[in-house]
Structure formats: structure tokens, C-alpha cells
């Protein structure tokens, strides 16, 4: 950017090309920022020595099979393609209304689809299950 020199050797700063470059950079970063996917999170307590607690109520066990079938205390609930899981939500809602400290254990099969387990966690989160953990 040394252009614009006058006869007495005085160099001037060319604003126009600098602005062009800045506009291109700005556009690039704006487009990149717009493409960012906003992340959210679902929390759970992992069972461990420090977190072991005894609960008076017998826990509800939710199993997730390798084919994505979810069972509520060994009885199948909701279809495999049903991401919202309305039946599971209904039963969890009734349980939590009766006993807010009701514990729920999720026991997924090792081959169970990750998205399906997140669906179950999502349903538990929606019904405000506080005592939620994973079992082997």
C-alpha cells in the first residue's frame, strides 16, 4: 500500500482498497457466525460413591433396546419413531406429581441409538425428573 506518492516523496494511505478488504473479511465472519449451531445441554448425575443415596420409593427403570424400543419397567412404551414420547411423558408426569423425588434409572443397551437415549433424557427433563441416573 505504498501507492499515492507525490513528487516530494510523501506516501499516502489508500483507504478504498483497505475498506474493500475489510468488507470482505466482515462478510466472511458474519456468514460463519450465522452458521454456528447453538448448543444446549441435558444434565444427569452419574452413580458413584459420593452420590450414592437411598430412596424410599422403588426406582422406575427405563430400558432402551438396540432397536430403539423403550421399556418402562419392562413394558414397551411409545413407538420407535415417536421422538416426543407422549406416553412416557404422561407416566413420568403422573409419577412426579405423586412423588417429586421419584428416582428414574435409564439402562440403555450398548448398541442402543444415542439419539434415542437423548429422547428419553429429553422426556425426563420435560417432566422435571430430578433423581435421574444411568445403570449398567
Amino acid at each position: 500500500m505504498a501507492g499515492g506518492g507525490s513528487s516530494d516523496g510523501d506516501y499516502g494511505l489508500q483507504i478504498a482498497p483497505m475498506l474493500d478488504v475489510m468488507f470482505v473479511l466482515l462478510l466472511f465472519f458474519m456468514v460463519m457466525a450465522g452458521k454456528q449451531v447453538k448448543e444446549a445441554e441435558l444434565g444427569v448425575q452419574v452413580p458413584g460413591a459420593s452420590s450414592a443415596t437411598s430412596t424410599a420409593k422403588s426406582p422406575v427403570t427405563l430400558r432402551v433396546g438396540p432397536d430403539g424400543v423403550v421399556t418402562f419397567n419392562d413394558s414397551a412404551i411409545d413407538g420407535r419413531e415417536d421422538r416426543e414420547m407422549p406416553k412416557l411423558r404422561g407416566r413420568l408426569k403422573a409419577l412426579i406429581e405423586a412423588s417429586p423425588d421419584q428416582s428414574v434409572i435409564i439402562r440403555p443397551n450398548e448398541k442402543a441409538p444415542y439419539q434415542r437415549i437423548i429422547d428419553v433424557l429429553n422426556a425426563c427433563g420435560a417432566e422435571r425428573v430430578k433423581n435421574l441416573t444411568f445403570g449398567g
Binding site: 475498506l19 466482515l26 465472519f29 447453538k38 444434565g43 460413591a49 442402543a112 437415549i117 429429553n122
Partner: protein, 153 residues
């Protein structure tokens, strides 16, 4: 910079009082915007380095910026990545979590600490279970799963 004071003149019908286009403030604003977008994009990319697509969950909460967080990525191939290292085994991962947990607690005993799992939505549960076991072995009970709020992959 010598740009201050430089002006582009704009012709008007009158010709007596030429309104002038101030370049210097515009360049200032542009630089600030550029810095903002550069900074935000870089931070996001650093935390999302792995090649994976997060699962969707409508009821997920917005991400918290806690004091202590250990992020584990599980990529499309099922490989475990953390702290810039890939192909981690359960024992190594557990040690990394424990070391980080100890360091955070040493700096601030009251600091909250959690393990964030970012796993690809098409994987099975097997690898996530490894991370949960590693977290439990390291003494960290608080585990969160990264998701998107649906609609976007």
C-alpha cells in the same frame, strides 16, 4: 494512523456547503465489527473441533459457562477426543479428568465441575458408557450431554 481527517466529498446540487462522507468513523466501526465476529467465530470453532453431529432435544437448557468443565468429543467413528488428544482409552480419559478436576478444585475449592459429552447422534451407547465410567472413576458425578434444540444439525 493517518486516515483520520481524510474525507471523501459528495457532490450536491447546491455546491456551497458540501456534505462530506467521513471515512474514519466508518473504518472504526468496521474494525470493531470485524474483531467481534473474528473473536466469536474462533471461540466457537475451538470448542467444536470434532467431526460430529449432535443429537436434537427440544427440552435442553442453554449451555452454562461453568468454572470447571471437561469436554469429551465422541466423533462419527466412535473415537474419544479430549484436550486435543484423540483415540483415548477409558483409563487415560479417567486420569485426564481426574487431573483437571484436581487442578480446578485446587484453584477454587467451591468451583462447580462437570463433564460435557459431545457425541455423534448416529453412534451407539457403548462409547458414551466408557466416558460415564471414566467420569465416575475420576469422582465426577455431574455429567451433561451436548445437544441442539432441534431443527438444525
Amino acid at each position: 494512523m493517518s486516515r483520520h481527517g481524510r474525507k471523501f466529498s459528495v457532490h450536491t446540487a447546491g455546491g456551497e456547503e458540501d456534505p462530506e462522507f467521513q471515512v474514519a468513523p466508518m473504518v472504526d466501526v468496521l474494525l470493531v465489527l470485524l474483531m467481534f465476529f473474528t473473536a466469536t467465530t474462533t471461540t466457537e470453532i475451538k470448542s467444536q473441533m470434532a467431526d460430529l453431529t449432535l443429537p436434537e432435544a427440544q427440552e435442553a437448557k442453554d449451555r452454562e459457562k461453568g468454572e470447571g468443565q471437561f469436554t469429551v468429543n465422541i466423533n462419527k467413528m466412535g473415537g474419544l477426543e479430549a484436550l486435543g488428544r484423540s483415540g483415548l482409552e477409558e483409563a487415560t480419559l479417567s486420569k485426564l479428568i481426574k487431573d483437571d478436576y484436581t487442578l480446578v478444585k485446587k484453584l477454587n475449592p467451591n468451583a462447580s465441575y462437570r463433564v460435557l459429552i459431545r457425541a455423534d447422534k448416529d453412534l451407539g451407547w457403548e462409547k458414551t458408557k466408557v466416558v460415564l465410567k471414566a467420569a465416575a472413576a475420576a469422582g465426577v458425578a455431574n455429567v451433561v450431554f451436548a445437544t441442539t434444540k432441534g431443527g438444525k444439525g
